[in-house]
């Protein structure tokens, strides 16, 4: 079991993560290390299209996403997700090999200019222990 412990900003929970194509992909060993936002308010995990393009990951399905202007239909990608475990005084750093979750994900496309390259939603978080203390210590225990 992997674990990440860090002191967050008090405003947002940001993590470096490793994104890899699905295990069945011809380039399954490709990897992109990107900046992700942990968001308990999001029901699903999203990935910005530029990251999917860099990994040569095609759309494998479609999904409706709620926006202020109504629902939109976006691609979904098959990926694997890795985390950089350890204890950090401030924001976590992407050192060492990532702890890759043993299940793949079907994630939706974020809009092109989304502030973060990935939004980690409750589809992933509900499989983890997420602990937030008032001293700004955050812990994620991975499955």
């Amino acid at each position: 079991m992997g674990e990440i412990v860090w002191r967050h900003s008090g405003q947002r929970l940001r993590l470096p993560v490793a994104v890899l194509p699905s295990a069945a992909a011809q380039n399954s060993l490709a990897i992109e290390v990107i900046d992700a936002l942990v968001d308990t308010g999001a029901t699903g995990t999203g990935l910005r299209p530029d990251v999917a393009k860099a990994l040569d990951v095609p759309g494998r399905g479609k999904r409706r996403v709620m926006t202020a202007n109504g629902d939109i239909l976006v691609p979904e990608y098959r990926i694997r997700l890795g985390f950089f475990c350890g204890e950090f005084q401030n924001d976590p750093e992407p050192h060492g090999s990532p702890y890759v979750l043993d299940f793949g994900l079907l994630v939706h496309a974020l809009r092109e200019n989304f502030s973060y390259q990935m939004l980690i939603g409750m589809d992933v978080l509900s499989r983890c222990d997420l602990i937030l203390l008032k001293d700004r210590t955050a812990t994620i225990r991975l499955p």
């Binding site: 308010g41 095609p58 759309g59 494998r60 479609k62 409706r64 709620m66 926006t67 079907l106």
Partner: protein
């Protein structure tokens, strides 16, 4: 894998999936549907299992849809 053919397949399969979604609920809710040639291949407990079956077609032309009629909610980010 032919990316253009895959994109067309995903579109056609999604149309089929949407038209038949009510037939799949509530029994298959939360499972993953594997689709090919605008028809249902089967339901799987994980996207990995659906993909594994899809790869057996040999050409990579298939799509996967979560059986859940609700749209993704981005919470605070829904407003932009």
């Amino acid at each position: 894998m032919n990316i253009r053919a895959l994109a067309d397949e995903v579109d056609r399969n999604y149309d089929f999936f949407q038209r038949h979604m009510t037939q799949y609920l509530p029994r298959e809710f939360g499972r993953y549907a594997l689709l090919r040639n605008a028809s249902l291949v089967g339901f799987f407990d994980s996207a990995d299992a659906a993909e594994e079956r899809g790869e057996q077609f040999g050409d990579g032309i298939y799509s996967i849809q979560l059986v859940d009629p609700a749209p993704i909610n981005l919470g605070a980010f829904s407003n932009g």
